[in-house]
């Protein structure tokens, strides 16, 4: 981004904090961008002639006589088909050595879609992972995060989901991504020969944290271009939203705002909702689906970040290591896809909802049996059988290394019921039992 020659240059800063600075200036618009000593900054507060700006790159080394030039516009991204296959930083500048992208310049963080212009999501996104497809089916236009501890393989699962989902574009918004993970994504996409349908906006751990605030809006502005203008199905991956929220709290703290729960700004819910609600299905066929990662500390979902996220997103996916089988599984209790009701038993086989519920209920019985066992009580025959079922269920369906289609998942479910239980123990509608219970 270049400055224009006729622009007024300010050189007297009145206040500098770790993330913001103030100066006296007039005629400045709210949300407007400025350059301060070559670093990008954005107006966050105007009081009379005092303008406060947050500096995305941090205020390190900015002197009180720094040169400040205002750009007269909010952050923008140039959109065109040339975005495909490219890697950008948080400002939308290429980091892959290629030329800048030409196209229509659009403000990022634009207006919301009129709810009456949306269509109810109804297209299933198959991933081959039974813990997702069977129990927590994803639908295009949905927004759903992985809730995971930092040591869990969420980036791998997300990359797998992205590649198996048949979408026109995959947009990666990386916030505080380690360089290793960034290269992992790059390699996976490259090896799958999918680079031409991938667009990446990446802020790595090496970049200043406040820059991250731009990444989701950049990624979603690109997504809206393809979904609205080109009627394409777009999958947006946002990792890691916890680091995004941390950056929000840094800025609000520097602006002396009163923090609410867990030192997060009081507006956290609205800030996150503005991003996640960009997920949409349009009647013309275009869609934006968001899969995000929210890292937890010690599995605590009552922390303000996962808690607010859970209220915004349409479900959440939990990964957990199952010590009985020594594999990572998609936790059936704590995971949920709210939109699955729109497709299961409708786009999939009629027995899907009941098989799903029965299996989870039996898995819960096994969990109770396990507690009994741990407390030193005798197990009943039913307890023993449910424990055996749980192991099979984890191994054949919940584990993230499963890759089968949904009918096969349902058949596997029935065969496990048959192996461990009697018909009246599974509580499924009689018509379905008659039709699908294995015959031999």
């Amino acid at each position: 981004m270049e400055t224009k020659a006729f622009q007024k240059i300010y050189t007297k800063l009145t206040q500098i904090t770790k993330a913001t600075f103030s100066l006296k200036a007039t005629g400045i618009g709210y949300d407007e961008l400025a350059f301060v000593n070559g670093k990008l900054a954005q107006v966050v507060k105007i009081l009379g002639d005092t303008v406060t700006l947050q500096v995305f790159g941090g205020t390190e080394g900015i002197p009180t006589n720094a040169e400040v030039t205002f750009l007269g516009k909010a952050p923008t991204l140039k959109v065109s088909d040339d975005l495909a296959g490219r890697f950008f930083n948080a400002y939308g500048e290429p980091i892959d050595g290629g030329p800048p992208v030409e196209g229509e310049e659009r403000e990022i963080g634009g207006p919301s879609v009129n709810p009456v212009r949306r269509k109810q999501p109804s297209e299933l996104i198959a991933t081959g992972i039974a813990g997702i497809d069977l129990n927590n089916t994803l639908v295009s236009g949905q927004k759903i995060p992985f809730f995971a501890d930092p040591d869990q393989p969420y980036n791998q699962v997300m990359a797998m989901v992205a590649l198996r989902a048949r979408t026109d574009k995959i947009i990666l918004g990386g916030m505080g991504l380690t360089n290793d993970d960034y290269l992992f994504y790059k390699n996976v996409f490259d090896n799958a020969g999918a680079l031409d349908r991938i667009i990446s906006f990446v802020n790595t751990t090496e970049d200043p944290p406040v820059e991250r605030l731009l990444v989701p809006d950049m990624a979603l502005t690109a997504a809206e271009y393809f979904a609205v203008d080109k009627n394409q199905s777009v999958l947006v991956l946002l990792t890691d939203m916890t680091l995004f929220a941390d950056a929000l709290s840094i800025v609000s703290n520097r602006m002396d705002q009163i923090p609410s729960k867990d030192s997060m700004p009081g507006s956290l819910y609205s800030d996150l909702a503005k991003i996640y609600e960009k997920a949409v299905q349009f009647p013309e066929g275009g869609s934006i689906t968001i899969i995000a990662v929210t890292t937890l500390s010690g599995g605590d979902i009552t922390h303000a970040i996962p808690d607010n996220t859970g209220y915004i997103t349409e479900g959440q996916l939990f990964l957990r290591r199952d010590s009985d089988i020594g594999k990572v599984i998609v936790d059936p209790f704590r995971s949920l896809s709210r939109l699955k009701q729109l497709v299961i038993g409708i786009k999939t086989r009629e027995d899907h909802p009941q098989v799903m519920n029965a299996a989870v209920r039996l898995f819960a019985d096994a969990a109770n049996a396990k507690t009994k066992l741990e407390n030193g009580f005798d197990l009943t025959d039913y307890d023993e059988r449910s424990l055996e079922f749980a192991k099979d269920y984890s191994n054949k369906l919940l584990a993230i290394d499963v890759n089968i289609d949904i009918d096969e998942m349902l058949d596997t479910g029935w065969s496990l019921f048959d192996k461990h239980f009697k018909k009246e123990e599974i509580g499924i509608k009689k018509d379905l039992v008659d039709k699908y219970w294995p015959k031999n």
Binding site: G27, I28, G29, Y30, D31, E32, V44, K45, I46, L47, G48, D49, A74, E107, P111, S112, V113, N114, P115, V116, R117, R118, K119, Q120, P121, G141, Q257, I258, K261, G266, S267, Y269, S270, K274, E277, K278, T302, A304, D307, G310, Y311, I312, E314, F333, R334, L336, R338, Q341, P353, N357, V360, R361, F377, D378, T380, Y382, E424, G427, K429, K430
Partner: protein, 586 residues
């Protein structure tokens, strides 16, 4: 001349305006930005500075931008044509807006100016009338929509002239009233009312007593809500708050449904937009949407309008209540509204209360809930607003300020439990923690004795006792072990499981099971209580759960079948055979 002003400061959607004349609290003003006007509401005044919350994005606003004050508070426009509309929080008709994206400064008319309504006079020349009295009625989607003396009219008026039967547009004069000074006042079908002020054009507001059937068993049977009652549903995310609320809105015995989707997911609103025009209203045979109004302020729409949206919805409800109709109003979720208050309070740099919420939060919430109720109108007719709000407690902790404040205001409490939700026991309403204060109302008891049966309340209390006892025995079994307790303990526990699986749990996605009329609820409860009061013979505890699982399975098949159909009767006969296997006949 109206007050003008200039922008002096901007902090997100809070704008400080230097005003050149008088400004009142909650007054609406418009900020001129390029060719559009951004609506804002005064929330604080210091000297000549008005602090206004802008209902739109403030991007690119500048110091010195012009502001004009309107001298009026935030108002809704009332008149025929509100039903089946989709509004935003400020009552803009969303369907009239052009383009995929919401444009800043685009405001649309909530009513249709050109539509002709079939008017029938109800008042006669010579009548004396006061605010809220019915002058005539038009037919709005087969609902008798009363044209009333505007609520803002004080004192008594004399009807001079009233239009005859015929078709009129909303702006046509339908009556001429004469005030005390003898001045003629023409009245048309449109009136305006500020949303933050309750409409009180009724004679009295007695305690509500009529059962409001929702078809949801755990509510109707265990913790009933009444016409004009208030209730709230708190629960952590993923526990089925919205599914439960949607079920209530589809099935409840109300004339009109108003849904305020307040700061929640857009796809949930889209679900309403998609389903309600398709869903048939069993009682009228018409589409559900015809008697529904949806106020959508989804979580990505401007925060300040979120607060307005619940007030807009309530005011529309009060308008229809004054016509002698039964309104069901739902708000999902009131926590988002409280958070909107918190965001503004924070920007105003007010001293915070608990969890950084504003100090007056409990007062704001209870004031709002008190606008619901059962009313007797001036002409002796009755109307009601039943209000059910959801609360999204942070971290699922019911000790947070919004839940606690709401608990003081609402009479029914439907606590959603994470544990029940985890084991897929839906609706995940906790039968032990939840309550309905209406069960204690003598008026309600009297009503139930007449409409259901004399022993109903006794049966409900018995059911609650069985559930409580079941929970206690379950804890005992867990401490002492399966074989460490008498077999009776297992039987007691499993009897409570039968109640749980058959009465409490309900499949919101099954055509038959999703809604249970009260007659069927009575039949099932009777059957299950008979089972609970019987004694059974078992040799060992391992037989108990297998036996009761068969009973539950049989009952569930009954729940999935049409009431008293052949299938239903067959399952019931099989059930009776299973019961005969072990029952001890005394």
């Amino acid at each position: 001349m109206s007050t003008k002003g200039k922008v002096k400061g901007i902090i997100a959607n809070l704008v400080i305006v230097g005003a050149d004349g008088p400004v009142s609290q909650n007054e609406i003003c418009y900020i001129h930005y390029r060719n559009i006007q951004l609506m804002a509401e005064v929330i604080k005044v210091v000297g000549n500075d008005a602090y206004v919350q802008v209902f739109e994005s403030t991007r690119e606003l500048k110091i010195g931008d012009d502001v004009s004050f309107t001298g009026r508070m935030l108002e809704v426009t009332l008149g025929p044509g509100i039903l089946s509309k989709n509004y935003d929080g400020l009552q803009n008709d969303l369907n009239k807006m052009e383009g995929v994206f919401l444009k800043r400064g685009e405001y649309t008319n909530p009513l249709d100016e050109e539509k002709l309504w079939k008017f029938k006079p109800l008042a006669k020349p010579g009548d004396n009338v006061i605010a809220g009295d019915w002058l005539g009625q038009v037919d709005e989607n087969d609902m008798p929509h009363k044209i009333m003396v505007p609520f803002s009219f004080g004192g008594t008026y004399h009807v001079k002239k009233i239009s005859g039967e015929g078709k009129y547009k909303i702006a046509d004069t339908v009556a001429i009233l004469v005030d005390k000074e003898g001045k003629d006042i023409p009245v048309n079908m449109i009136q305006k009312w500020p949303v933050k002020i309750p409409i009180t054009a009724f004679k009295e507001k007695p305690r509500p007593f009529k059962l409001l059937e929702t078809g949801v068993r755990i509510i109707d049977t265990l913790d009933p809500i009444v016409e004009g009652g208030t209730g709230f549903i708190p629960g952590p995310f993923g526990c089925g708050k919205t599914v439960l609320q949607h079920a209530i809105s589809k099935q409840a015995e109300a004339d009109i449904v108003i849904v305020a989707a307040c700061g929640e997911r857009a796809n949930e609103v889209v679900e309403l937009f998609t389903e309600f025009p398709e869903l048939e209203d069993v009682r009228t045979g018409k589409k559900l949407m015809e008697r529904t109004t949806i106020i959508a302020n989804t979580s990505n729409m401007p925060v300040a309008a979120r607060e307005a949206s619940v007030y807009t919805a309530m005011t529309l409800g009060e308008y229809y209540r004054s016509m002698g109709l039964r309104i069901l109003m739902l708000a999902d979720s009131t926590s988002r509204w409280a958070q909107a208050l918190r965001e503004m309070s924070n920007r105003l740099e007010e001293l915070p209360g608990p969890d950084a919420f504003p100090m007056d939060l409990p007062a704001v919430i209870s004031n709002f809930y008190s606008r619901a109720g059962y009313t007797i109108l001036n002409n002796g007719e009755t109307g009601s607003i039943t209000f059910i709000g959801t609360v999204s407690p942070a971290g699922g902790n019911l000790k947070e300020p919004v839940t606690e404040s709401t608990k003081k205001a609402a009479r029914c409490f439907y606590a959603l439990s994470q544990q029940r939700s985890d084991s897929k026991r839906y609706p995940a309403v906790d039968p032990i923690d939840s309550y309905s204060k209406y069960l204690e109302y003598p008026e309600f008891e009297e009503y139930i004795e007449k409409t259901i049966s004399e022993k109903w309340i006794e049966q409900v209390n018995k059911t609650k006792t069985y559930l409580q006892r079941g929970k206690e025995t379950y804890e005992q079994i867990n401490i002492l072990g399966d074989d460490g307790v008498p077999i009776d303990y297992h039987v007691t526990f499993w009897k409570s499981e039968v109640i749980d699986f058959v009465i409490l749990q309900q499949d919101a996605f099954d055509k038959v099971d999703q809604s249970t009329p009260i007659e069927r609820q009575e039949y099932m409860l009777e059957s299950i209580l008979e089972l609970c009061e019987s004694d059974f013979k078992f040799e060992s505890f391992t037989e108990v759960d297998l036996y009761f699982k068969r009973i539950i399975n049989q009952y569930k098949q009954m729940n999935y079948s049409e009431f008293k159909s052949e299938k239903f009767n067959n399952f019931e006969n099989e059930l009776n055979q299973i019961i005969q296997e072990r029952i001890i006949v005394t």
